[in-house]
Symmetry: C2
């Protein structure tokens, strides 16, 4: 296994996932499917409209999510995971499992600092 090509690939995936609200957005879209903007805003805890829009745009630019605008008043915009985006699920799951398995270890670490 060569190092440098691997680095690039790992960083590509990382680059897409990194962003304060991206994991929760993706997790929600993966679990619950198509979601409207305001519903996402309610679900993502404490996010501002500006930030939510920004994160969604970035994911859309990467072709991870799909944005559908219904030309009506009041506006309606729906977001969903793209086929491409679905391929990220194993990574998200690997992280989820890791986090679940190591919650204990983390608690032990914080304990040391007392």
């Amino acid at each position: 296994m060569q190092i440098e090509p691997d680095l690039c690939r790992v960083e590509d995936a990382l680059g897409i996932l990194v962003g304060k609200w991206k994991p929760i957005i993706l997790l929600h879209l993966l679990n619950k499917g198509t979601t409207r903007f305001n519903e996402l805003k309610r679900i993502v805890p404490g996010v501002t409209q500006r930030m939510l829009t920004k994160q969604l745009r970035e994911l859309e630019d990467e072709d991870i999510i799909v944005r559908v605008v219904y030309p009506q008043v009041p506006p309606k915009v729906e977001y969903s995971i793209s086929e491409y985006g679905k391929s990220l699920e194993p990574i998200l799951m690997a992280m989820h499992e890791w986090g679940a398995a190591h919650t204990l270890h983390k608690m032990q670490l914080t304990k040391k600092k007392d």
Copy 2:
């Protein structure tokens, strides 16, 4: 599956992996085992001493890598993956596989922008 607890866990893993040089450092230590500071510096392309030290310290603080100092002149410091750190391998591998599988997709995206 609940959303919010999952978020935390995903972000914990993400938090550890994020850092400009962390993936390549971890990949190297996972593949090649124990490595001296200067060797890492040669291997990680374009990293400065300050940044390499910083990233290594952060990984050490998270208990992902182990730092061994040999009290001699000139100094010798060796870094290796901890047992805990090894548990990150599935995540790194998931990202690697994803990146490898989607190199094509990425090339098609850049093509669109022409």
